[in-house]
C-alpha cells in the first residue's frame, strides 16, 4: 500500500464514491428504478442520472479550478446542488 502514496483527501474521495455506489445499490434493492424521461433529452434510470451528475461535477470542478479564481468549495456546492436537481428532475 505504501507505493500507492495515499493521502487523506483522496482516501475520503474514494470512500465517498464507494459509499455512493453502495447506497445506490441498497436503494435499488429496496425500490427498483424505473426508466423515465425528465428534462434531459434521453430517458434515464437513477444510475444514469448519477453518472451524468458525477461526470458533470468533475467538469465543474475543473472549470472552476482552471479558469476562475473562485474557491473549490463553491464548485463542490454547485456540483451537489446540480446532482440533486438531476436526480430529482433529470
Amino acid at each position: 500500500m505504501e507505493w500507492m502514496v495515499w493521502t487523506t483527501p483522496t482516501a475520503v474521495f474514494f470512500a465517498a464514491i464507494a459509499a455512493i455506489l453502495l447506497g445506490m445499490t441498497a436503494w435499488e434493492l429496496a425500490s427498483p428504478t424505473v426508466e423515465r424521461k425528465g428534462f434531459l433529452p434521453i430517458a434515464t434510470t437513477r444510475g444514469d442520472r448519477l453518472f451524468i451528475g458525477l461526470l458533470s461535477a468533475a467538469y465543474i470542478h475543473l472549470a472552476v479550478l482552471g479558469f476562475t479564481p473562485l474557491n473549490l468549495w463553491l464548485a463542490l456546492g454547485i456540483s451537489i446542488l446540480w446532482l440533486g436537481i438531476l436526480l430529482r428532475w433529470g
Binding site: T25, L29, T45, G47, D48, F51
Partner: protein, 297 residues
Amino acid sequence: MTRSMPTTPDAVRKQAAAADARRRREARPVSRQWRRRGLMAAYILFVLLPIYWLLNMSFQSNSEILGALTLWPQDFTLEHYTRILTDSSWYMGYVNSIAYVVMNMLISISVALPAAYAFSRYRFIGDKHLFFWLLTNLMAPPAVFLLPYFQLYYTVGLFDTHVAVALAHCLFNIPLAVWILEGFMSGVPKEIDETAFIDGYSFPRFFVKIFIPMISSGIGVTLFFLFMFSWVELLLASTLTSTGAQPIGSVMTQTKGASGIDWGTLSAAGVLTILPGIIVVYFVRNHIAKGFALGRT
C-alpha cells in the same frame, strides 16, 4: 409480356431507346466488376508497398541499403535473418512475446466467457453501468497507467515476468472479449438454454457441452482480436519487463547502435513480427468470412 411491333417512327425510337437502356443495364455488371477489381487491386498495392519495401530491405546488405536505392535486392543475402535466429537475445524476444500473448488470450477468454453470458442473458443491478465501465477500460490510454503498473507489479514481485504483461493486457483485452462475445451470444436463441435446462443439464455442463460449441466461431474471432491487440501493444509490455521477459518490440531498439541504425536487421526483425499475425489470420479466415453481425439488429 408480349412485344408488339411499333407502328409509328416515334414509337420505334422509343422502343430502341428502351432496348438500348436495357442492354446497357445488363452490360454494366461486367465493367463494374472490372472496376471493382481495379480498385481492390489498387488498395492491396497500397497495403503491400510498405511491407514489400521492408522485405526488400531485409534481404539487402547494409552497404547496399545505404549505397543506392534498389527496387529489389541486387545482392540477395540472408545475413540479417541468420543473425536474429542464432542470437538468443534476439529470438528470445519472439518467444517472450508469444508467451505473454498466449497467456493473455487464455486468461481473457476464460473469464470473459461467463461474464459475456451473464450480460447477454440476464439483467441485474448495475449491468449497463458495469458494461460501460468495462468499455472505458478499453479506452484507458496505457500511458496513463505506466507508472502505477510499474509500481504495482514491482510490489507484488511480478516485474519482468510474462504473467505481468499478460495481466496488464487484460485491462483492455477482457473488456474487448466480453464485448465481442456478448454480441455472438445474443445471436443464440434463448430457447436453447431453456431446453437444455429442462433436459436436466447443469449450468457448467450446458455451458461447456452445448453453448461453447454453438459460438465456436465467435470464440475464434474473439481470440483473433485478443491476439491482435496483445501482440501489437508494446508500451506496457516494454515498461513491465527488463531482460527476462523482454518483448521483441523493445529488443528491436537494439538496432540503434553508435554507428547509426542497422536497417537490415531492423527490417528482418520487422518481417518476422508480421509472420505470426499472418498465421493467425489464416486460421480464423473462415470464421471471419462466415460473417458476424455482433448482436441482434
